[in-house]
Amino acid sequence: MKKIVLTMLFASIGLVAAEGEMPYAIGLKLKPQPAKIYAMECASCHGADGKQTSFSGFPSGIVYKEIAGMDEALLAKTIKEYRGGVESKDYQPLNKYGYGAAMKAPTRDLSWDEIDAVAKYISGLK
């Protein structure tokens, strides 16, 4: 038993080290790493599991839906709309349920590829 635990421990260290070698930042045309994007931009409000429905930074009483397991295509479409595409006064990004401002900042720098990847990730959260 001890041996198995030890092996697992080493395995997980190996994994962390491998991940650590691959730095990631959003919007740099890197191969999307959706888990990191989610952790950086989404998890503080939506929770690591995608089930969080309120955020201490918002006024009390504001709640939103769980996003874990939502439809991938719908997620991608909605995030893209929140992001907006054009830096122009003529195009305002989506402001669904009043979340426009809250959703614009975390999505602004994402590429379409990154949005597609993170939508798939959220859709796969259980």
């Binding site: 070698e21 740099l28 893209k80 595409g85 054009v86 195009y91 379409w112």
Partner: protein, 488 residues
Amino acid sequence: MDKKYMDSMLSKMDKDLSKHGMSRRDAMKIAGLSGAGLFMGTSSASAEEEKIVKTDAKGKIVIVGGGLAGMSTAARLTLNLTNPDITVIEPDPNSVSYQPGQTMVAAGLWDEEDIMYKRDDFVPDGVKVIEDRAVFFNPQENKLTTEKGQVVTYDYLILAMGVQLDFERIKGLEEAGRALSSGDNEKLLDALGDSICSIYTSKGSVKTWEMMQKYIDQAKSGKKTKFVFTHPDTPIKCGGAPKKIIYLTNSRLKEAGARENAELTFYPNGGAMFGVPEYHDAIVGQFKREGIKHHYRHNLIEVDKENKIATFDAKWQEKGPWDPVMKDFEVIPKHEKLKVPYDMLHIAPAQIAPREIGESDLGSAKGWIPVNKETLQHIRYLNVFSIGDVAQVPMAKTGGSVRKQYKVLVDNLVALMNDKKMEAKYAGYTVCPLITDIGTVMLAEFDWTVKPTPSFPLDPTVERWVFWLMKAYALKPMTMYGMLSGRA
């Protein structure tokens, strides 16, 4: 220079010349040039070579970006250093491809093979290549990290990663992402579809030629055909290219006898055709002569691919109420969305510095790398230099600029490595061989003075066939075998 290549090029040139009933020698005479002068630009290569005295200066030099600027700089450094320790970080195997030829490909004059060159054929002896992309910069510790996670340290850093083509900022083209000029660019071409083209990528220039033929045929069949051309609201590489493709389309339409059915319209974001008044006037005259329409202060912000409509942000100013304090009328800026239907749309995309630079301490707020415009040294990190399209130098982003910059950079870096004063200065020279027709070029040369600075004793605002010869036959070997070996 590759002798076989020279020979084949010269025989092509002779064929072109004989069409005009002229020998090569006569052509050279007209240009007022010796053969070597025509092929090497204005200065003799051998004279420059003699001046270089190698030094023993030591230091690890890392060059980020192995395009024309980075690779020419690497080559010239090897000519200056006895023991060069130079590493180039460049992920693209075709990074040294000849971008000025993309206009020629788009007009069906050259094939794609004529402009594709392999990075590894142009790596100077003694220079190492890391096939990766530098992504995270730590200039305080003279370190950077690549996409694959490799940490690279340096004593001296040269930033030459060029620009990215920002198609994703146009509504309707978000999925195109940001592209580089070489590479397969499949995603970009898919997003553009079959009525929007751009010569700003090498594959895109091939597709532009296919599209151009299709719509010239349409015009020839008697159908009124609208060709729309854009110029964005950011600095771009080769500011002449958006106009060259208009002139080449015009030329091909005339050749096909289809010009009267075609409407060519240029929507530039700026309020002039060229920053130098003399060249601006010349271009306006050319547009008038050729019946090409233009509307200033229009920036492309949206495309509707299905209905073939381009939306521009159109800007103008109106006279406002009297201001009793300033004793003048106020000026009120106005703008509105303008929808323009097209058959073929040519996009010159907005261009930005790679975002990793803007996010690091090396970039300015807009991403460009702030350098002294004359010495090319970074304004904060004195062991860092920048050259080419990504450098914040208020001058055209062209290979012609790089041709003057890389020698300045190398002289200054070698001086710095030897603890000497940096004395070389970039005088702001650049050149735009503006193709005005198949067979004529206006050679627009200028510098910080914003005045024409012609290399030849000829009126620089006149379109000349002899400059076409230079563009079509001489500039590529000068670039590929002269600059990339650090000599021209």
